[in-house]
């Protein structure tokens, strides 16, 4: 077990910079998820930690040692790939023990480790099968078993659940979390799925264009995003953004979203935003759950208004309503008991206690 540190890590392909100077400290035992859209450099970062890609600049440390020029086999890491990468001509047991056999471990110890890992992953009865006789979920378990038996310093997962169907993905997600709770090995996990990131991670690293946008525990990223990118990437449906300005009306600070609509800010928010220039082009960020039906949402900080939804999405435990506001499309989440119909006016309430105000130009959250 070990901590992993990245210092100003850069990856260049010819003249394209895929990773642009990343700093990251991953303490021992932590489960860190790198998340971002495709091409954001998350997989490249993982492959550099694994040693499958050279580092163009900067340092990577595992357990305090710089491993920039250490080959993958000497980094004491194990990796689980998206397409499993099981050796097709070997049985499950042979697949899992391959690394140990290469290192000439005693046979008894190999057997003991494989048996233990197989039991942990519930694949004991599959031990003599070949990969082609296994289902996708079983193959992914074997791939994890192959990583576990090595008892490495660091686990690396490269989108391990992307090839599985939705139901199996949820199941394997829980499985991975359980395994981590048992073995406590430092884990770096790459995914483009923010739900996976939120559910698995101790800390989430949101990446975009080869840079880290924000690092933090899932709830912090959700409630206190640092940039517009993080705010829109984390959470589903995504956060709404409405162009707005700050205005003083009758001695109270208001946020104006259209000529006819301005909401007075609650005291705590007013204090925070008072210093913002009244001319700055701003964005009001509201998560769908903070745009709800007026009937069951009231109190200080709640402001009501009327909107006419054009699309209704009943999900069972909640209903999403989509309506136009200030030239954009806004998504709200209402109680399914509310009679929301497309084309019929609906009384909604915004919860300004949970609002975000962003600088439109820089994309940073104020």
């Amino acid at each position: 077990m070990a901590d992993v540190t990245l210092r100003k890590v850069v990856k260049r392909y010819d003249d394209v910079e895929a990773v642009r100077g990343i700093d990251l400290d991953i303490p021992d035992h932590e489960f860190v998820v790198l998340v971002g859209p495709s091409g954001c450099g998350k997989s490249t970062t993982l492959r550099m930690i694994a040693g499958l890609e050279d580092i163009s600049d900067g340092d990577i440390m595992i357990g305090g040692d710089i491993v920039n020029d250490v080959p993958p086999k000497d980094r004491d890491i194990a990796m689980v790939f998206q397409n499993y990468a099981l050796y097709p001509h070997m049985t499950v047991a042979e697949n899992m023990s391959f690394g140990l056999r290469l290192k000439h471990y005693p046979k008894a110890e190999i057997k003991q480790r494989v048996t233990e890992a197989a039991r942990m992953l519930d694949i004991t009865e599959l031990i003599d099968r070949k990969p082609k006789q296994l289902s996708g979920g079983q193959r992914q378990r074997v791939a994890m078993g192959r990583a576990i038996v090595r008892n490495p310093k660091v686990f690396l997962f490269d989108e391990p659940l992307s090839n599985l169907d939705a139901k199996l993905r949820v199941q394997m997600r829980i499985e991975i979390k359980k395994v981590h709770q048992k073995v406590r090995t430092t884990t770096v996990y790459v995914t483009h799925d923010q739900v996976e990131a939120m559910t698995l991670a101790d800390r989430v690293v949101v990446m975009n264009h080869g840079r880290i946008e924000q690092v933090g525990p899932p709830s912090e990223l959700y409630h206190r995003p640092a940039t517009r990118f993080v705010a829109s990437f984390i959470g589903s449906p995504a956060m709404n953004f409405v162009p707005c300005r700050i205005e003083d009306i009758g001695g109270t600070l208001h946020v104006r979203v259209s000529d006819t609509l301005a909401f007075p800010l609650p005291a705590s928010r007013a204090a925070r935003y008072n210093s913002v220039s009244r001319d700055t082009k701003l964005l009001l960020g509201l998560r769908p759950e903070h745009v709800a039906d007026a009937r069951s949402n009231s109190g200080p900080g709640f402001e009501t208004f009327e909107a006419t939804p054009d699309v209704i999405e009943p999900m069972g435990m909640e209903t999403f309503v989509y309506f136009p506001l200030a030239g954009g499309q806004i998504c709200g989440r209402v109680n399914p008991a509310v009679d929301a119909r497309a084309g019929a006016p609906l009384r909604l309430a915004v919860d300004l206690n949970h609002m975000h105000l962003l600088n439109e130009e820089t994309g940073t959250v104020i």
Partner: protein
């Protein structure tokens, strides 16, 4: 059925011009069989004729009887060849040359293909194309320069290569290595990249990745390449005719022609017998390795 009839009552009767998928398939199958039968007939007639002729005596061959029937079957041609020390020498030479060529070819082309398919290095793509281009040079173009090279080599070193069976062991790989390397590059390239990355992370060296992962996974390709190398060296005719002349140095194809045709006298019975016996080893190899050849081993390596 009755309800169907009721529904269709008012519908205009229409002649179906294009059949269902199964009808199309049936027609495709008929055409396939038609051409396959023609092809099988064309390729099977010569060996059958060889077999018939090999079972005839010289008298029967020269007699004006039905050439497609054996009236007095005899195995005298087989006995004559299999007891002739000359024929056994040809056979031994052919076997030695072919086995050595297969070994040399595999030792060169498998690591070469692995390096070209997997280790990215400067110029690897150009080399891969270059290897294929060498295969396109016809062997008839090469035998004169090669002959000259061996002559000069012998002048310089005193090591005689011309008219020695082992000269073929040096010459044949120029034909087999490029093609086998090309086949193996294709096979290795079809192996998912993650498989060698997994092996490398598991602690395998490049050599171990090749021997313990790539070779077993690409076994069908390896067998295809082996069969090719063996067939080429077993059946090559031009080079042995050019480079070897003494009867104790000849391989089978050249030996049969040189010793069984004396001037304008063709010993047809023995020629056919020799050709049949000569075709046996490749035939046996094909029969045994066909299953491997067809089997796809990579199934299940990644998402299937």
């Amino acid at each position: 059925m009755s309800s169907m009839a009721i529904i269709d009552k008012g519908a205009p009767t229409r002649k179906v011009k294009y059949g269902s998928i199964s009808r199309d398939r049936a027609w495709a199958l008929r055409w396939s069989y038609f051409f396959l039968v023609i092809f099988a007939f064309a390729s099977l007639v010569p060996p059958i004729y060889m077999l018939i002729t090999s079972l005839k005596s010289s008298t029967e061959i020269s007699a004006a009887t039905n050439p497609w029937w054996v009236f007095h079957p005899t195995i005298e041609n087989y006995v004559a060849l299999l007891t002739s020390s000359q024929f056994l020498i040809f056979f031994r030479n052919s076997a030695m040359v072919s086995v050595l060529v297969v070994i040399i070819t595999m030792l060169i082309s498998v690591p070469a293909a692995f390096a070209l398919a997997r280790m990215r290095f400067w110029g690897s793509a150009t080399i891969a194309t270059g290897i294929f281009l060498t295969y396109l040079i016809p062997d008839t173009l090469l035998f004169l320069p090669l002959f000259k090279m061996f002559a000069v080599f012998s002048n310089w070193t005193g090591i005689e290569l011309i008219n020695r069976w082992y000269v073929l062991v040096i010459v044949y790989p120029t034909l087999t290595v490029p093609f086998c390397t090309w086949i193996m590059i294709g096979y290795f390239a079809s192996i998912p990249k993650e498989l060698d990355e997994a092996a490398i992370i598991d602690g395998a060296s490049w050599f171990q990745t090749l021997t313990r992962i790539f070779i077993p996974v690409a076994l069908p390709g390896l067998i295809a390449a082996t069969i090719f190398a063996f067939t080429v060296s077993w059946a090559q005719f031009l080079y042995p005719m050019v480079f070897t002349t003494s009867t104790d140095q000849l391989v089978m194809p050249a030996g049969i022609i040189t010793t069984l045709i004396k001037g304008d006298v063709f010993n047809w019975g023995q020629i056919m017998t020799g050709a049949l016996l000569g075709a046996a080893p490749p035939l046996i190899i094909y029969a045994f390795l066909m299953d491997y050849y067809i089997a796809g081993l990579t199934a299940g390596a990644t998402k299937g």
